[in-house]
Symmetry: C2
Subunit: 562 residues, 2 copies
């Protein structure tokens, strides 16, 4: 692979904060600022501006002290914690038939990740999910890690914060928050998804049968972490899904999700009629042992719901949902994700893979929003939540879709009513259908609102949504639009310390500390590029937008100081 | 000028709908669609899709039957209506000293617009504003025009609609809606700004002392109408303001706004201390007679408010506000916009120029949102509204700024409480400070919400906001992001017929009528470009996003039809 994955942010340092309970250190990004310079009584004076510490999703890629080698994978951060718990065992081989075949297949050898890590699984009778630990009152290193991470040193900066390791434990125990943490993905830094924490964003990558090679996918995966992606779903549907995912998992510092039915369907060459529980089950085990941290499973879409879809404008727009709907129709049987759900949970609990209950009937257009089909499925997801929790399996609930603004709140309310507090994870919602090419924006409009109302994680949408596969620049645009929505929601929810960065950036703006302004922004490169495109050499106290006479901030200063 | 201003939209026709009361015809855009083709009982069947009529801001530029010549200006649509009312007189010369000087100045002759139209003004004792007509019970051609325009043939399409000419009259009479309609800008098509009508968007153009020539400004002005700008503010602050504006006004099919203090300040070479009422007054008259339809006047920012600004992070960020604040501080006198407000109204009423009461103290960052300074000014704007209405002068109220989502509603509530129902016109609000380079998105997030709550017009923000002057592509990105917010709000407010376009586009999407989908979108070119970038020749029933096996819509159809 010919990728340079190192990430550097301007004027930023990687810092680590140590745990107090466990032997852990949590990476963060500290943005260093220049002084405010002003004239007082004819003298030039300097006022220091404290650095701003921000949440960092880039893992070791932004740490110059860590040697990065894509062919070896990231450092296995959590390996010792997991081994230390002594409740998992390393298997001598992969349990999945398919994984064994791939390992033996020399034809795909050239594409295989060079290092083989044998899988870990719960020992017989052991409950190894973060939820089970939390329910037992154990504060795991993962829990302390996310508590430190969410705080961003706010406590030390004097900002009151409720986020303690014990608070994290309580939230995970109650099912109100999820820490995706498959022992087979020890490279991932722990993070938490729950409405009382920072709003998280998920990015999607993945090739389809039609495009996008493996190298490009790995590069896009790291690129998405660079811009702020908190989790990543690999939605590949083409060739070499297994090998591509291995490269991604081993090099990904954030949890990874998949929709296992995609790969299962590829295994039967797209013939939905040929799909069987056995193939699906083997795919689940294959991916559990590879290190996937959460699975989207469309277990709430039932035969009884299908008639409700007929009057829709855009039918079923969930890929997984449409596959299982066809399977049910072809076989005249109930959704096997539903009928086998307990069996699924028994697999997932052995690897602490969270289930993200998919909304196969999410509305694909404004007209279909909040209809009987959508809400019928949502109430089934609520019932499945209790089943999963019985097995200590962590649960996310997926949500729409396309929803006009005045119907967004009802989505959150219905989810709260039916799903027992499990975190909501939504795609958008897109607030109108009429803007293909700009759906990262229609999505940001809706996502900011639903996140403010309590959605814990929002899925990015790129400008290519509805039109084609995103390229690198689309991924950047999608992550940033989503990040804007998430951060706007954090501000509206009053998350501790989330406004520090806004305040620091605005002070820099008012001080004409342009570089500090750029460095504090979510895309320093873009901000600097736009500024320099029209800047005048040597003049720093105004920009071309207003020119020298009309810079309000300059005039405002004169007025205040007069 | 070397500009090709013609506008064509794919698969679209310019249509005209005639008035029933007045001899008028209202231009609209009809998007023609292809048939839905499907197989039934082995036979190919066609189902017609009715065309979709959409609101059109492009004026004659999109009418192939109108010859366009930038050096002659647009057809003077409203000239006969205005003359027919017999309450204005055409003057034999310009009343403003400055306008007279410019006309006599042969040095600027090369830049001057080739045709001189002598100005019209109210005859002595005549009240000529749309508000005064409305209060007298007169339904003007302008009122009937906007009623037809807002309806987009919804009544004929069977959609119930409350928008009649009489309804328009009532709203204008009550001050809840504004029809900017200076008799000296008869080229502009009437449009209405009010919370019970479609949400409108304003675009800003204008050179600063540092950039952007006249030709570029005219081109950007027409370009903004192409993408959906409803009004345009010329915020020029550099050289040749008068001549540039003349070119723009004569070629602009939408109302134009300005901030007259900008030009007044240029007349004294940026020396705020040298600004006088006399210079400002002459500038008002100059611009009234040139055809500006509304003026932003920062009349609510008082001496008493200045101490409230000192604790802010970003002080005063309104350009006009910072100028008048400095003037007050320098002279130790009250804001002359305020003290002379009745005199200002007496000028404006003679030309039916609306006043847009500027929010000189709008917050420039999240931390300053909804502070005492901002709300103190807002309540003064409410008092000034009553003064303006006494003179039948139409009023808009300007609003923020930077506001976190949970504080947006309070802005709308305060405005409703203090401003007697006058339409609210906001810049953003931007829901976070941390995204320079993407502030069209942070603005869309906030603007969609405040427009849903009742704001009548939202001002676009381009990706270059805070960084530099926008170029053509930035104008496009800014208009479209703003249009998304406005349309999302129309949907949420249930504006009659606004969902028709969403429904038609989504049906096209489900039918794989790709071209119809693009043609119905707000940027057909961008949608097509993204699609074709990754499309596979000959395959039309899926895109690269999902590939052939995983197209949910294709699978959904199979399932529904099975």
């Amino acid at each position: 692979m010919n990728i340079n994955p190192s990430i550097s942010y301007p004027a930023s340092e990687k810092i680590y904060v140590s745990g107090k309970i466990n032997h852990i250190r949590v990476g963060m990004r500290r943005i260093n600022l220049t002084d405010t310079v002003f004239i007082e009584h004819g003298q030039e004076r300097h006022e220091q501006n404290p650095p701003v510490v921000v949440y960092d999703t880039s893992g070791s890629y932004s740490d110059p002290a860590t040697a990065i080698d894509i062919t070896k994978g990231l450092p296995r951060l959590r390996e010792a914690w997991i081994a230390g718990r002594n409740d998992t065992e390393q298997l001598s081989q992969f349990s999945s038939r398919y994984a064994g075949e791939r390992l033996a297949d020399h034809a795909s050898g050239a594409m295989s990740f060079p290092v083989v890590h044998l899988p870990r699984r719960a020992r017989e009778g052991k409950a190894i999910t973060q939820m089970s630990y939390a329910r037992q009152g154990i504060v795991t290193p993962e829990m302390e890690y996310v508590a430190i991470r969410e705080n961003m040193l706010n406590g030390e900066a004097g900002i009151p914060t409720h986020i303690t390791p014990e608070f994290v434990r309580e939230e995970v125990a109650a099912g109100r928050a999820v820490i995706p943490a498959n022992p087979n993905h020890p490279e991932a830094e722990p993070m938490i998804i729950g409405s009382r924490f920072l709003v998280k964003i998920n990015t999607n990558i993945g090739n389809s049968a039609l495009s996008s090679g493996m190298e490009e996918e790995v590069e896009k995966a790291i690129w998405s972490c660079r811009w702020g992606g908190d989790t990543l779903m690999d939605l590949s549907t083409g060739d070499h899904i297994h090998e591509t995912r291995e490269w991604i998992v081993r090099n990904l510092p954030v949890p990874i999700g998949t929709v296992p039915i995609y790969q299962a369907l590829e295994k039967v060459n797209g013939d939905i009629g040929a799909l069987t529980w056995d193939i699906y089950r083997d795919t689940l085990v294959e991916q559990c042992e590879q290190g996937v941290d959460y699975f989207t499973i469309h277990a709430g879409l039932l035969q009884a719901h299908l008639p409700l879809v007929k009057s829709r404008t855009t039918g079923i727009v969930s890929r997984g949902g449409s596959v299982i709907a066809n399977w049910m129709t072809l076989h005249g049987k109930e959704n096997f994700f539903y009928s086998r759900f307990e069996e699924i949970c028994r697999i997932l609990k052995q690897y602490d893979v969270a289930v993200s209950l998919g909304d196969g009937l999410r509305p694909g257009c404004i007209r279909d929003a909040n209809d009987a089909a959508q809400f019928a499925e949502l109430s089934v997801l609520g019932k499945l939540t209790l089943t999963a929790w019985k097995h200590h399996v962590q649960v996310l609930i997926e949500g729409p879709g396309h929803v006009p603004m005045h119907r967004i709140r009802a989505n959150m309310d219905e989810q709260l009513k039916h799903c027992h507090g499990a975190p909501f994870y939504t795609l958008g919602p897109l607030a109108t259908d009429i803007a293909p090419g700009y759906d990262h924006i229609t999505s940001a409009v809706g996502a900011a609102q639903i996140a403010w109302y309590g959605t814990a994680m929002i899925c990015y949408v790129t400008p290519k949504e509805h039109l084609g596969l995103p390229d690198r620049e689309d991924v950047r645009a999608g992550v940033i639009a989503c990040k804007i929505a998430a951060h706007a929601a954090d501000l509206a929810k009053g998350h501790p310390g989330s406004q520090l960065r806004d305040n620091a950036l605005s002070k820099a703006r008012f001080d004409f500390r342009w570089k500090d302004q750029f460095n504090l922004s979510i895309d320093p490169e873009k901000a600097a590029e736009y500024y320099h495109a029209s800047r005048i050499a040597g003049e720093n106290d105004h920009c071309t937008m207003c020119g020298p006479h009309f810079c309000a901030m300059k005039l405002s200063k004169q007025c205040i100081n007069r």
